[in-house]
Every structure is written in C-alpha cells, then in structure tokens.
C-alpha cells in the first residue's frame, strides 16, 4: 500500500536518463553504454544511477511492458465502487489483495456526475468469464451491496507510456 506522496526533485542527470528511456532501452549488446552515450554519461554511471532508482522504488519494474490486448487479454474491466470514505482504506486493501485485481486505486469522485471512488482493474480473455469472476469476488468479499459498476473497454484508441523526465535543454 503506497500513499500518493510527494518526492524530492531528482537531479538533472537522472531526469535526462528518464527522458532518454521514454521509448525504452536500446536493444543492443551494451544498452547502458549506448544510453550513456546519448546523455553524456559513462556506462558505469548509468548502471549506478539506474540501480539507485530501482532500489528507491522509483523504477517500479523493469522489462517488457505488454499490451494486454495483444497478449490475449481482450476483456478489460474497470470495476468501480462507491465506498463510504471511512471504509475505503479497508475495502481498497481487501480488493487490492485479490489475485484477479491488477490495479486498485482510490480516486476523487466527480459529484453529480460520477459517484465512484474505488477502482479495480480485472483483465481476462473473455467478457462473460470476467463478469462472472467480478460478481463472485464482490459477493465473496461482502461488497456486492455497495453501489458499483463494471465498465468494459470496447475499443482501445491509444496505449503508450507517459512522457516523463527532462532531456537536457528541455524546459
């Protein structure tokens, strides 16, 4: 469980590395040396900075970022619940601990437009199967009586990475 904390700013060198990694690691035999060449760092410096970022949890994982649709996960359900504020921490931890839930966030409501404050994503291969899984999960956890909805995606228009970091010379 992680709060959405504020972090101290990273050094410019780290931000330059982050920006150079927007499209991923170079696919070469010495990728960290090649990355370093782009930002004016030695391979050793790149290795030590990236290890430190991983150690600090700023890199949350490192490897293949998979498009779930192409990996066979065609049914992508956003399960949303309206949980009383005083229960949301407990319910969030419970839902987040479920094997089927890949992501569980508390978000602000949009009063009058959108009552839900807890989001859980469930990915599966088949919409009917995912719906049944979600219904079973909510019933088993005693959450089925809370106002909730399941929003399946019907089309993906874009799925890329965020544009973080700051290349040297970028404002």
């Amino acid at each position: 469980m992680t709060a959405v904390d504020r972090f101290p700013p990273l050094p410019d060198a780290d931000m330059a590395l982050v920006a150079a990694l927007r499209d991923g690691l170079p696919l070469s035999h010495r990728p960290y040396a090649d990355l370093g060449a782009r930002v004016g760092m030695s391979e050793a410096e790149v290795l030590s900075r990236l290890s430190a970022l991983a150690e600090a949890g700023i890199i949350r994982r490192f490897g293949a970022i998979v498009r779930h649709h192409e990996a066979g996960y065609r049914a992508n359900a956003m399960v949303v619940l309206d949980v009383p504020d005083e229960r949301v921490a407990e319910v969030g931890r419970t839902l987040g601990g479920e094997k089927a839930v890949t992501l569980c966030y508390r978000r602000v409501r949009a009063p009058g437009r959108w009552p839900y404050n807890l989001y859980a994503m469930v990915h599966g291969r088949d919409r009917a199967v995912v719906t049944a899984e979600v219904r079973e999960m909510l019933a088993r956890l005693g959450l089925a009586r809370l106002p909730h909805d399941i929003l399946f995606s019907t089309h993906r228009y874009k799925q890329t990475g965020g544009r973080y970091g700051r290349a040297r010379g970028e404002a």
Binding site: M1, A3, V4, R6, F7, P9, L10, M15, L21, G24, L25, L27, H29, Y32, A33, L47, L50, S51, G57, I58, I59, R60, R61, F62, G63, A64, I65, V66, R67, H68, E70, A71, G72, M78, R93, L95, G96, T102, L103, C104, Y105, R106, R107, V108, A110, R113, Y119, L151, F152, S153, T154, H155, R156, Y157, K158, Q159, G161, G162, R163, G165
Partner: protein
C-alpha cells in the same frame, strides 16, 4: 486467443516483465535461463515490439517520483463524433492511454505529464478544443499495482 504468440514469445514475456538486469551485458544474462543467445533475445524483443505486443522494453517509473502526474479523465462524447474526438485527444503526446468504455462517460484517457500543472493545462486544452467537459479523477491512494500478465 494468443495463437499468434509462439512458445518463445510467451517464455520471454512471462520471464521478463520485471527484474531486468542492470549490468554490462543484460540481454546475455537474461537470455541464458531462457535457453536463448543474447542476439536471439534482442531480436525477439525487437520483433515483439514491432508487432505491437510490447509498448516498449524498459523501466516503468513511478510518475510522482519524477515530479509528474498521471490523471485518469473521462468524457461523454457523442457517438457520431467519437472517432474524430479520439483522434483530437490522442494528438497530445501527454495522452498515454485512451479507451472507449460502455457507459455514459464513454471515453476514458490518462493524461501523463511531467508536472501536475501540465496535466491540468492539457485537460483544459482538450476541453477547449473538443467543446466537451473533461472530468479528471486524480488518484488519492494506490492500494495495489501489478500489471504483469501471463501470456
């Protein structure tokens, strides 16, 4: 459903969604337990990227730690404008994801920018260009995030 992925594709995806080595020859190190050569692994990852199975191969950062923010936003878009509006919204490089969902709020996208201020600007710009209300749903607390999938 995953018949376009062969056994090697699956092995690579399942083994390499986290913990990629930070070392001088990381592909050689990661290839060995998969029974692949360094070059075979590099070629396979390049191929998975070219086929769109991977969005990229590299680190996934915690946006807040980089001073940035990723905000989920929703809009109600008239059906006859949906594709055109999706194209307008996607033109912002800060829009990372965009999905149609079956609800009155039918367009859900993520604005990921290098500062919370830029996130708010992008939302305002999108609203102005499309003439539609953008509802931002900022994150208050993260209980769980593990998007590793089994291929």
């Amino acid at each position: 459903m995953t018949d376009h992925l062969d056994a090697t594709d699956r092995a690579v995806i399942n083994a390499l969604q986290g913990g990629f080595p930070v070392s001088e020859r990381p592909f050689a190190e990661a290839a060995a337990p998969l029974g692949l050569t360094e070059q075979q692994l590099i070629d396979r990852i390049a191929d998975l990227r070219a086929r769109g199975v991977l969005t990229r191969f590299g680190p996934l950062f915690k946006p807040e730690a980089l001073g940035g923010e990723a905000v989920l936003c929703a809009m109600t878009v008239p059906a006859d404008r949906f594709d055109a509006v999706a194209e307008q919204v996607n033109a912002w490089p800060e829009v990372a994801h965009n999905y149609a969902r079956d609800h009155t709020l039918n367009m859900w996208f993520v604005v990921a920018a290098d500062s919370p201020r830029r996130c708010r600007e992008v939302c305002a710009e999108i609203s102005e260009l499309t003439g539609l209300t953008v509802l931002p749903m900022p994150k208050l607390h993260e209980f769980h995030l593990d998007l590793r999938l089994t291929a």
